[in-house]
């Protein structure tokens, strides 16, 4: 089976196309059929429960066919007993009175579900496509394009090296000392000196540079082309189709450590001895009977254990909190990670990097504007405050004065200037936050835009005098002027990915200064031991080494 093939069906694209054209010949909705087919495949692979499948398409099926006799949650166990395979039993339900031919049935239910069903029929007919799900097995590569890919944009200029993310990660996942899934370091190289030499010249704004250090924040990069996954001899290291997270199945890993060898970033940590936190004490296992309570251990669709610290003898690394993404820690935690939540200056923006409206995408594509939005949105007065304090004909200065003098708000020219610049800069871009998670930047931008709109009811912010007051007159073109103003405020960070030339296609993007090839770590603003973290794990491991002699090394 070609791994490049992006078809969802194990028999490949051609097969799908054939079935799709078959479906096109019917009076039924091809698109619905293909969508159902895709999910039906996922049912056969155990990624989706039958009940979920049923629920997802109930309305559409009713609309299309006028009936929906597929197995429901209640019918689930009975269907299992029939042991005819998911697809076959689903087909039967469609088949209703049993008088329709197989082909008609297939057409009726939609080509996709039929494609799955063919597997079951093919077994009897000795067709080439027998036992589809078995042939496919647990997947190594992403074969279907999901529209979700969790990832991060990390603003290194905003990182003040407080290590809150590291401790949060460690607590969330019950990690051993020295197992630093999230790792934050300060660094220097020839072109970028550290705090000791003072004066970084990369940026020119008050806004960023929360510390004098060059920082690097290193979670797992959750690469699209993950070398660790490629080399794994067991498929324990795998990429989840539904959201691109690269995870380790703790029940399959044999502990050969080849993933750690192949990872160019050094994000893996092996469990050399028994973990400090016993299995029973892992968070979220208080009520093992309630599946929604199992947040950490025994996890992923109830089948694969991928979250929290690893047991002895297997590999672990940053997971980007899959139990949160799957809603097992409450809806409010979907689209967040422990490190993101813990980060005081919001340097970490986690979300769906394929969604243009998501925080990581916004931060990556419009770093200057997004920084400004994150920084000023809390200080922006609400439209009500504007309405009740400003009257027609007020000058800009008077309006600012009027708002600033109230108890409800603080306002200065800089805030207005930056808000106006944001408004100008967002004219040609997506502004609708949508209803997905991780859209806080666009939501915050909405707040800013509402303020600008409210203020402009009374004051012309694009008049010559207003532009002068707001420092938006450096160049004639107002778009360029806005950009310059925002850069003055928030800097204009370059973006990069770590080791881009290695070809791993990481899903973490950085804003700020890229460490050169000779960059080396230096002591950062916060010492690891001050926040109860162990940096050099070898110090701990050496204690248990049989016949260890201090200071002797190859």
């Amino acid at each position: 089976m070609s791994t490049d093939d992006e078809s969802f069906h194990p028999l490949g694209e051609e097969w799908e196309d054939e079935l799709e054209s078959m479906l096109d010949d019917t009076e039924y909705d091809s698109e619905l059929g293909m969508k159902m087919a895709q999910d039906a495949m996922r049912v056969t692979e155990g990624e989706l429960s039958e009940a979920e499948f049923h629920d997802r398409y109930h309305e559409e099926v009713m609309e299309e066919f006028g009936e929906d006799e597929r197995p429901t949650k209640e019918a689930y166990e009975a269907a299992q007993e029939e042991a005819k395979g998911t697809a076959a039993s689903m087909l039967e339900k469609f088949d209703g009175d049993g008088e329709e031919t197989r082909r008609e049935t297939m057409k009726k239910m939609g080509v996709g579900a039929a494609a799955v069903g063919m597997g079951a029929f093919g077994t009897a007919a000795d067709g080439p496509e027998q036992s589809l799900a078995a042939e496919k097995g647990p997947r190594q590569e992403t074969t279907e394009e999901s529209d979700t890919q969790w990832g991060m944009t990390i603003d290194l200029d905003r990182c003040d090296g407080c290590l809150s993310c590291m401790t949060a990660c460690s607590q969330e996942n019950d990690l051993d000392q020295g197992v630093n899934w999230m790792y934050v370091m300060a660094w220097e190289d020839e072109n970028h000196s550290g705090a000791s030499d003072g004066g970084n010249t990369d940026t020119n704004s008050q806004f960023n540079r929360l510390s004098d250090y060059n920082m690097l924040v290193r979670p797992c990069q959750h690469c699209t082309d993950a070398p660790c996954e490629k080399v794994c001899p067991t498929t324990a290291r795998h990429t989840r189709d539904k959201d691109g997270l690269v995870l380790t199945d703790y029940d399959v890993c044999i502990g050969c450590r080849y993933c750690q060898v192949a990872c160019p970033y050094g994000v893996n940590y092996f469990q050399w001895d028994d973990p400090d936190v016993a299995y029973e004490d892992i968070d979220g296992l208080e009520d093992p009977e309630d599946p929604d309570e199992i947040t950490h251990a025994e996890y992923e669709h109830g089948e694969r254990w991928v979250d929290s610290r690893a047991p002895r003898g297997v590999m672990s690394k940053c997971t980007m909190c899959p139990s949160m993404q799957d809603g097992k820690q409450g809806e409010e935690n979907v689209g967040t990670t422990a490190c993101e939540t813990a980060c005081p200056p919001d340097a970490i923006q986690f979300g769906n990097v394929k969604d243009e409206a998501s925080d990581p995408s916004q931060h990556r594509e419009y770093p200057t504007k997004s920084r400004a939005v994150i920084d000023i949105n809390a200080n922006v007065p609400s439209p009500d405050v504007v309405d009740s304090n400003v009257s027609d004909g007020d000058s800009l200065e008077a309006a600012i004065e009027a708002i600033d003098s109230t108890e409800d708000a603080d306002l200065d020219e800089t805030t207005v200037a930056v808000a106006k610049a944001i408004e100008i800069q967002s004219r040609d871009t997506e502004t609708d936050p949508g209803d997905e998670e991780n859209n806080s930047i666009l939501e915050q931008q909405q707040t800013v835009l509402e303020f600008v709109t409210a203020l402009e009811e009374y004051v012309d912010l694009e008049s010559e005098s207003a532009r002068e007051t707001l420092d938006l007159d450096q160049v004639d073109d107002i778009g360029n002027a806005a950009q310059i103003r925002l850069e003055q405020y928030a800097g204009d960070p370059s973006s990069f990915q770590l080791l881009e030339d290695i070809g791993t296609n990481p899903n973490v993007t950085y804003l700020g200064t890229q460490p050169g090839p000779e960059a080396h770590q230096v002591e950062g603003p916060t010492k690891y031991e001050d926040v109860d973290l162990l940096d050099k794990r070898q110090e701990y491991l050496d204690k248990e080494t049989v016949g260890h002699v201090d200071g002797v090394s190859l």
Binding site: N180, W272, L499, Q538, V546, L554
Partner: protein, 450 residues
């Protein structure tokens, strides 16, 4: 050279004698193996933390170490052994016929030791079957480690078949002089034997030998084993197309040295001066010199490519490797051995079997050192070496060192056991040395003699 005529009695001597020295050696080898098995049990109980290994990166350790280094070293010995034997058959190097079977047995021993290392190295060896074989059809498309296990298994089957087929000829002819207590084993090994098959077996063995010779450089020690390392994207100490030839040269050096040591031991123990002759040692020494020369040449290529205007990452890795005292020691040993081999070639009086033995031990130590260093160097100087704790530290723990003793004991036990069961020198070889050519003819003759 000895004037004594080699006889069947000569090659049967190991089987039909039982000496005190044998028991002492057997006890020592068994003790080594058992000691390591106990150590391994402790490792299984405590976890791999009892080794000197750790996490590369922020952890300041080395992910792989002696276990993997020794693993590829043993695989090298094994691969070289079978190449040696195949060359004898395929290229008609009749001079080395008396040691061909020792080389094949070295292969079986080496592969056993290597396979054992795979288990010892794992965090969860209990899952080998379910996790590896269960997903084989997927992982074989990607994982060099799975390719590795695949070719090693293929190789083991190939070598065992090869050895098993050639043993049928000997056992069926010498059966009357073989101990009765192993009768069932001999029965199974010679099941369905008839003299008519000799020619067929000859052909089969020839083709197997051809397969070995073709597979070895392409797939085995010139391919899949170095690919475990050379294909990884960000470990400059390992990368480069030179690793294939490099690994192959190391395999041949190690195997020739290993076979020389084993041959020396058998010759001494069973007075085989007239079978494993000085001539064989001289010849092996020359081959050893040839492959050592190649090896040093490849090392030069690898280093020059790094240190002279190399990209930052490979320059750092190459410079660090060259500066390592153990690397210098290993290369020094190899170079001095090469010098000795060269000198004894132009002045034959410099040859002695003891010196050949010393040369073999030096080369084996050099290749083992190089292998372990090679593995560790990768983690010490990765492309992404921003971490303050990289390069990390690693020194093998007592348990890891003991694994060398254990696996050496395992291989020694294999030889000690096999030498009591079957002739370790082929009947063909002594027939050849006596000058009886043509199998069908002398087969009849022998029957008359018997």
């Amino acid at each position: 050279m000895s004037t004594k005529e080699p006889t069947e009695a000569d090659i049967l001597r190991p089987i039909n004698t039982l000496t005190k020295k044998y028991f002492i050696l057997y006890g020592a080898a068994a003790l080594g193996l058992v000691a390591f098995l106990i150590a391994w049990a402790y490792q299984l109980q405590q976890g791999l933390i009892v080794t000197g290994l750790g996490d590369w990166g922020s952890g300041g350790g080395s992910t792989w170490g002696l276990y993997i280094g020794a693993f590829i070293w043993w695989v090298g010995v094994a691969h070289g052994g079978i190449i040696l034997s195949a060359a004898v058959r395929l290229l008609g190097m009749d001079r080395y016929m008396p040691i061909a079977r020792l080389a094949e047995m070295t292969t079986i021993g080496g592969l056993s030791a290597a396979g054992f290392y795979i288990l010892v190295h794992m965090g969860r060896p209990d899952r080998m079957v379910t996790s590896v074989i269960g997903h084989y059809h997927i992982t074989v498309n990607n994982s060099p480690l799975v390719w590795d296990v695949t070719v090693i298994t293929a190789y083991f089957v190939l070598s065992a078949t090869y050895l098993g087929l050639t043993l049928r000829y000997d056992i069926s002819r010498l059966r009357d002089d073989l101990p009765d207590m192993f009768e069932p084993v001999y029965k199974i090994m010679t099941i369905g034997y008839s003299e008519k098959e000799d020619q067929v077996i000859d052909r089969m063995v020839w083709w197997l030998a051809a397969a070995v010779i073709i597979m070895a450089p392409l797939l085995l020690h010139g391919g899949v084993i170095p690919w475990l390392f050379a294909l990884l994207p960000a470990m400059p100490a390992w990368s480069g197309g030179i690793q294939g030839p490099m690994f192959l040269s190391i395999a041949l050096m190690s195997a020739i040295s290993g076979v020389m040591i084993i041959s020396y031991a058998f010759r001494r123990a069973y007075d085989w001066d007239h079978i494993i002759t000085d001539d064989i040692f001289r010849g092996l020494l020359l081959w050893l010199g040839f492959f050592t020369l190649l090896f040093l040449w490849f090392q030069l290529q690898a280093n020059i490519n790094g240190v002279f205007l190399g990209p930052t990452n490979s320059a750092v890795a190459a410079e660090a490797k060259m500066a390592h005292p153990l690397y210098q020691l290993a290369m020094g040993m190899a170079f001095l051995t090469l010098v000795y081999i060269f000198l004894q070639a132009i002045r034959p009086s410099l040859f002695s079997k003891k010196r050949a033995l010393v040369a073999s031990v030096a080369i084996l130590s050099a290749t083992l050192t190089e292998k372990i260093l090679f593995v560790v160097e990768g983690f010490l100087h990765p492309t992404f070496d921003i971490y303050a704790n990289t390069p990390g530290t690693y020194f093998p723990s007592a348990i890891e060192w003991l694994s060398l003793v254990g696996t050496a004991g395992l291989v020694a036990l294999l030889f000690l056991n096999l030498s009591k069961l079957v002739p370790v020198v082929e009947l063909h070889a002594i027939e050849h040395m006596r000058g009886d050519h043509g199998h069908s003819d002398d087969a009849t003759e022998q029957e008359v003699e018997a």
